[in-house]
Amino acid sequence: MLILTCPYCGVACDETELAPGGEAHLKRFGPGSTDEEFEGYLFQRENPRGVHFERWRHAYGCGKWFHAARDTVTMEVFGTYSAQVTEPPEEIRAKISAKHPGWSWREFS
């Protein structure tokens, strides 16, 4: 069972109170992009064993979208953070580095 604390209301949410929103920090490619970029935006997703970044929505609660960083193997949650960012904040990266020195995920490390 996954418990994520909503950064907007502070509630420790059970996974079943949340709506999953898929991979975090996707960059949209639309009109004017190449076929490869558009395909990547639509279909290419990370599926890591380990560090992963996701979007979730506090559906049975405040209704806000937020980001979560967790380990897909151990289910350890490194932290949750605002939806209004385009990359993981420094304190989340530091927590991950403490557990997984040298980690990387897409362009982040």
Partner: protein, 193 residues
């Protein structure tokens, strides 16, 4: 004159705890920026209640303000007072980005009473929320789900919890609460907590 009726005509059950539909209750959804003092001051001017802290509630007599999200409060009051309170909110919040809507008849309210541990056990059968006194003290508002229906609840006092759900789910939620509190099915987990 309109014949007003709550969803379940004050249906009740007595098992490990007492479950009662609370009848006609007033409820006003208020939305705006809770970090903006201009907004919270106006809400206080209209209701006479200061804005509650995060996940908390403030009660003054029959009226209470409940914290629902960073941009939403819920005002509970007597059913026939809701219309006037919306009017007061509209005047106090004029010119500000806000919303104040009387949702009294869109909701159903249940009162759960009895042994505090038994009330917590009943809710714990239906929600993934931590029902311990430490995580859910008197005066804390928790929005969550009860089985498959969205709901919010809070403890007014030790051994007395209020549950709010959408009116369309009233029958389902009442049956849930009734079944979860059936005599002979007490887990006793929070007894003596």
């Amino acid at each position: 004159m309109v014949d007003l009726a709550s969803a379940l005509s004050e249906a009740a059950s007595s098992g490990a705890i007492r479950v009662e539909e609370a009848g006609l209750c007033g409820m006003v959804t208020i939305r705006g920026d809770l970090t903006d003092a201009t907004f919270t001051d106006a809400v206080q001017a209209a209701t006479g209640i200061r804005a509650p802290a995060e996940r908390g509630m403030e009660r003054v007599g029959a009226n209470a303000l409940l914290w629902m999200s960073p941009d939403e409060l819920m005002l509970t009051c007597d059913h026939d007072a809701a219309g006037d309170l919306v009017g007061k909110l509209e005047s106090a919040l004029a010119g500000q980005h806000h919303l104040a809507v009387n949702v009294s008849d869109a909701r159903a309210v249940f009162r759960l009473s009895g042994d505090d541990g038994a009330v917590r056990d009943t809710l714990a059968k239906l929600t993934p929320a931590d029902m311990s006194v430490g995580a859910c003290p008197v005066g804390a508002v928790r929005r969550t789900r009860l089985a498959q229906a969205a709901a919010a609840f809070w403890f007014e006092a030790e051994g007395e919890a209020m549950v709010v759900c959408f009116r369309s789910a009233a029958g389902y939620v009442f049956e849930l609460l009734k079944t979860a509190s059936a005599s002979g099915a007490e887990p006793g987990y929070f007894a003596g907590d």
